[in-house]
Symmetry: C2
């Protein structure tokens, strides 16, 4: 168990307990996007605390990976959702970046191609699932199919309405086969988004991240919030719970998601595999070479 | 350009020039597995120097990634080969681990399945190639098809003999389509391998990395060296050169491969993409929201 860093507050049940969305109706306007639940230090403290998670989270990751190589069937899937600029990429860079890239399977979902649409919205998602021992990370996910698809009327209400149950069935089955699912909504305010989009327009090294369509989507903010409320409420199951991560402070967001991942790995508690060979006999064979 | 760290020796042509295998016959016994070309510091200096590469290599990686998102077609492919325990995984963990995992596509090749064999040995390799803007890393590769396949007579001599030309054709085409290929042979001595295998048998957290088959392969060391000599000699093209990395010292190996990657990215010199929209107009649109 890693030592607690300055700023980290231990709480019964851990950070998952604090950030987990309770069952029932969801209203994101009641969540403070600048809050830092479970942490009462400064930005610098937060960065130090994040670095401090590296060794332990990497160790657990290697144990899970080892287990997967020796017949274990467990894996972890981290789903990242949020409005543009909420920091899905930042979490991967700074949080997942602490781990061994060999044990990560990262997929960034863009608009589906015609060939993908034809196969049903979950088909491409299933292609991207983590194998045993791996930590899968989705930058956007099947939730886009009840978010932009709903807001932009890309399919009829009848179609998107059925998808919530389809998602729950899919996630329940996934969990039953050994995948621990962690769904994070990175929660920013519209004001913070404006600031971040402005920053992209002010910095030539960030132009490539900007898309004029981002402003169009931004103008539909209330519609997106409605769609998020429905998605989080209707797909908030014990097998695949939602967490709301206050994300106006990037350092908190990175620390919080990494901590959720760490708590999840600790609970899975993968053991180093027992040898499937005779250790003493192998030592002798090796010595003879 | 990053400042040089203690131990790093600048050389005309860079480290690539020093580690690149010259055209002609190859004899790996003439390479010192404990050498540290281009570096004359201690192990600790080496670790500091490696960390010191992180910021610059990440910056270039992001530029390449950005270029790829805006129509650029270039990518990098790092091929890692070497005997068991030579440290292919260690290079990925410690070297590639310095970069953003979103820009990496890592593939570890095991024995091919019947379905893969049926499609020809290059089929599964092509599935795993990096897309534009990405850095692909192969932990083992199509070279296994002229290494273990040759040593273990998995195919007839006639079949493996033709593969060298097939590999050269494949790599030449790949390079012509914008992929810079970097092939690294991680060179360890048989004595160092014994030490590392012993370490795996002495440490319960490493048992999972040990396979009794490793000792069988080890007993064929001279045959593998012959196969490596042929592979490196016959597939050492200007488009896809081989580098021999002395790898008995893990810290040197990690620093050297990362430095080769850095020099490659510097030479590609990807520029931040120019905006494909009107920046001032977008600022106004954004301000109005």
């Amino acid at each position: 168990m890693a030592k607690q860093k300055k700023g980290e507050k231990a709480a019964a049940g851990g950070l998952r307990e604090q950030l987990r969305v309770p069952a029932g109706p969801v209203d994101l306007t009641t969540y403070d996007t600048r809050a830092t639940p479970g942490f009462d230090g400064s930005k610098d403290d937060g960065k130090v605390a994040l670095e401090g998670l590296g060794a332990e989270v990497s160790d657990w990751q290697e144990r899970l990976f080892a287990e997967g190589r020796k017949g274990g069937e467990r894996s972890v899937l981290l789903v990242l959702q949020g409005m543009d600029t909420s920091g899905k990429g930042g979490v991967i860079r700074h949080g997942a970046g602490l781990m061994d890239p060999q044990g990560l399977k990262i997929t960034s979902f863009k608009a589906p191609t015609p060939a993908e649409k034809r196969r049903g919205f979950l088909w491409r998602i299933k292609q991207a699932l983590p194998d045993e021992g791996m930590i899968g990370i989705f930058d956007r996910s099947h939730y886009e199919d009840v978010l932009i698809a709903r807001v932009r009327n890309l399919v009829t209400p009848n179609v998107w309405n059925r998808r919530y149950d389809q998602i729950n069935d899919f996630e329940t089955e996934l969990a039953a086969h050994g995948t621990t699912i962690l769904k994070c909504y990175l929660h920013i305010s519209p004001e913070e988004q404006r600031t971040r989009l402005e920053a992209r327009l002010d910095d030539p090294t960030k132009y490539w991240k900007y898309n004029p369509g981002d402003v169009d989507e931004r103008q539909l903010w209330p519609d997106y919030m409605d769609a998020y409320h429905a998605a989080i409420e209707r797909c908030n199951t014990p097998e695949a719970p939602w967490y709301v991560i206050p994300s106006d402070r990037k350092w908190y967001r990175n620390w919080a998601v990494t901590t959720l991942l760490l708590e999840t790995l600790r609970e899975l508690n993968p053991e180093w595999p027992v040898p499937d060979f005779d250790v003493e006999k192998e030592k002798k064979r090796l010595a003879a070479t």
